[in-house]
Subunit: 477 residues, 2 copies
Amino acid sequence: MKRQVLASEQSEKLFEQICDYLLERIRRGEWKPHEKLPSVRALAAQFQVHRLTVFKAYQLLKQNGNVYVKDKSGYFVQPGNKWSMGADHDPIVSAYVQESHLSEIHQVQAAYQFSKALLDPNLLPNLYFSEYVKKVFDLYPKVLGTYSTTQGDEELREALCRYFTEEYRFYLSPEELLISSGSQEAIDLIARVLVKPRDAVLIERPTYSPAIDVFRREGAAIVPVEIGRDGYDLGEVERLMKTHKPRLFYLNPTFHNPTGYTVPAEQRKRLAEIAQEYQCLLIEDDPYRDIYFGEKPPLPIFSYDTSGTVIYIRSFSKYVGPGLGIATVACRPSIMKLLIRAKSLADSGTPLLNQKIFLHYFFSSRMQQHLEKLRIALSVRKEIMEEGLSDTDWQWSSPQGGFNLWVRLPESVRMDFLLAKSIEQSITFVPGSICDPQRELDSWMRVSYSFLNEQQLRDGIKRLVGVYRELPQSCDA
Amino acid sequence: MKRQVLASEQSEKLFEQICDYLLERIRRGEWKPHEKLPSVRALAAQFQVHRLTVFKAYQLLKQNGNVYVKDKSGYFVQPGNKWSMGADHDPIVSAYVQESHLSEIHQVQAAYQFSKALLDPNLLPNLYFSEYVKKVFDLYPKVLGTYSTTQGDEELREALCRYFTEEYRFYLSPEELLISSGSQEAIDLIARVLVKPRDAVLIERPTYSPAIDVFRREGAAIVPVEIGRDGYDLGEVERLMKTHKPRLFYLNPTFHNPTGYTVPAEQRKRLAEIAQEYQCLLIEDDPYRDIYFGEKPPLPIFSYDTSGTVIYIRSFSKYVGPGLGIATVACRPSIMKLLIRAKSLADSGTPLLNQKIFLHYFFSSRMQQHLEKLRIALSVRKEIMEEGLSDTDWQWSSPQGGFNLWVRLPESVRMDFLLAKSIEQSITFVPGSICDPQRELDSWMRVSYSFLNEQQLRDGIKRLVGVYRELPQSCDA
């Protein structure tokens, strides 16, 4: 019985796909007004579907005034642009729309951008940077004239390899590291080589929003995994792996974005085992590891992996130099080969200059001193934000690292309404629904304390709370 | 009748697709040895195909020892790894293999790399670069701490807009320019947003090889357009547009890679008109424009476009600074919106540092002086290569710009054999078939004179001709 429902759902989709196919090509002008469209028989053969499915598609198009029927000779394009999506629709441009919800909020100009989980540029040691850049030019006079290999500069991969081995007990060779132009590129490449349409993909709920967009774009069937203060319900994770046979699990177990939660060490070990058992790759995204306020976080899941089940993405951009765009991916050779191929078509290698600057800066003692200062500065900012929210009825769990506060508001609050009102007051934040693969979590918001300075934080939070208090008593009425 | 054949071909493919689907998931371990596989009825419903198609797939799998039948209860996974692709096949890794033929040749280590259409790093004004970098840090002390917008640095887009308007009479605003991390990324983004599976795409024959790989990956049906010394046969181009209704035509009309041909001005104007008529986007890739040896080349096709039909990709990396990775895409707002969205998921913006260095270096008077020297140096290298080949029976048309010689060898020569022998002698070149969407052009090769210095060129060509002369008389026997 269940199968029946599923088949009928898919038939529905198929019928819509044929509508889309026809409309798309009419829009592009492949068939001009009054031109004859392909026959039901021909389309049924082309798509390998039942003729009734095609017939259904044509009926809808006819009903909507996109096509007309002439006697028994077939379907023809209805003139008069009734098929247009709107007055400003350009007929030559109809393309795959790739969603990026977060980037839309980031485009809003605002004085108090709590939406940005980026480091305040003033917290970076900008004055020292140019010194290191000079050093790079002395050491590699031809650096701007030289392409990097697609996999990344060997000197940098060797240095990172030593670093990972010493710090996190990674068992790794430089051939198992890829340098990417930031973690976004890494997620994109991984999705492109590993995910096929209809593959199940586990994603934390909530999660880093652009990851949802990337996996959806590849046609993944997304299965959410709840993350809480104590990590995951591993029994549930195992059940999901058993039921859905997912291709991969994209996760951010350390100072998780947006919640700030950290998955405990014992769960990490067990998760690596479960993933191996069910042949589900773990994509461990780890951008906040160095930004801890108390104790160092537990070792990455990659450290517990003995079977090549974990792909580790480590971004450094967030706190070393956002303008550099450097991240690295650690994985086993069989996957590495695929990632290198994909990268050779995507950008033919991260710029060598950026890799060399990063190399000399990141591994300097100055960077390590700078990191200590950074941790203090950020924990102070976090406390300022928490203080500003302390006399509200909002709830959150104080994070021990990272850039974000994940805040729950009373259920009566309509988040979209609060965001609209906030933007009027030059404030932005990220509504919880954007971080939710199911587009729910309507009572939550992510506010980042990393981008604004202490005074701006005080003023901005005060203003945000003000907007909240002035909301009509029952705006959900 | 023709339709019948087509449908049967597609049914063939469909049946193979179902085989692949099952094998892929057995390989991944979704169904374990002796586990029951989905029923014929269920798979037929899932894929919306006739049950006979699924049955056919199972029959082949049974025949190959991948599955077995138990009474009448269905199909089961045959144990014993008979489904494995080979002893070294990693069951967890089976993914979309993305082809990149050119990058494979580039991975060959050789003393005489005629395969590389890259600039000799010694031809770049490396000493001056660090000066400009210092300037950038003085002007923008926080440049490494700042993300670029996804579309690219506004100051750079404004400068490029002025430059394009003055130099090529582009009618353009900075909102119609995107900064990408090199032309490879630009082609990749364009393919991803504009090409859907089964879309026809016109591509020159021969062409820039990675472009073939990118469009194929998106599932395009590639239709070759012959390019010759005098450009295209426009009547044929029109016929192809009429017949195939292509989504786009990827072309490189100025010092074309690999042939060096330049499409004349009158054809450019007419091509823009035809493309508009048939709603076929022209993707004009223009990386060699500044590298002319005689007269300046004709204006870009984009200059003749009045309808938003042309997308212009201009790479600067090749001669300004390969290590910078900077290119720009000019197109109308409707397409720009899509490209920005795609880029926000692909790498969230080209590094600001690289954009600022490029801005200050490219628009300096020093760069313009450098370009003049560069043109002379490259034309000298071209002549050295041509001299080295002058007493062979090879044929080529002397290019008036660019980095490459496109050479025809006698038909008796087996190019793969010559390449193998050349690699033994530490020489690489690009066999013509790699540049051909149809994988023919077996008598041609691309040899680049841009990467090696004058002495290396002399020695390398001598050595290559030597390898050729020592080939067995009839290696095609």
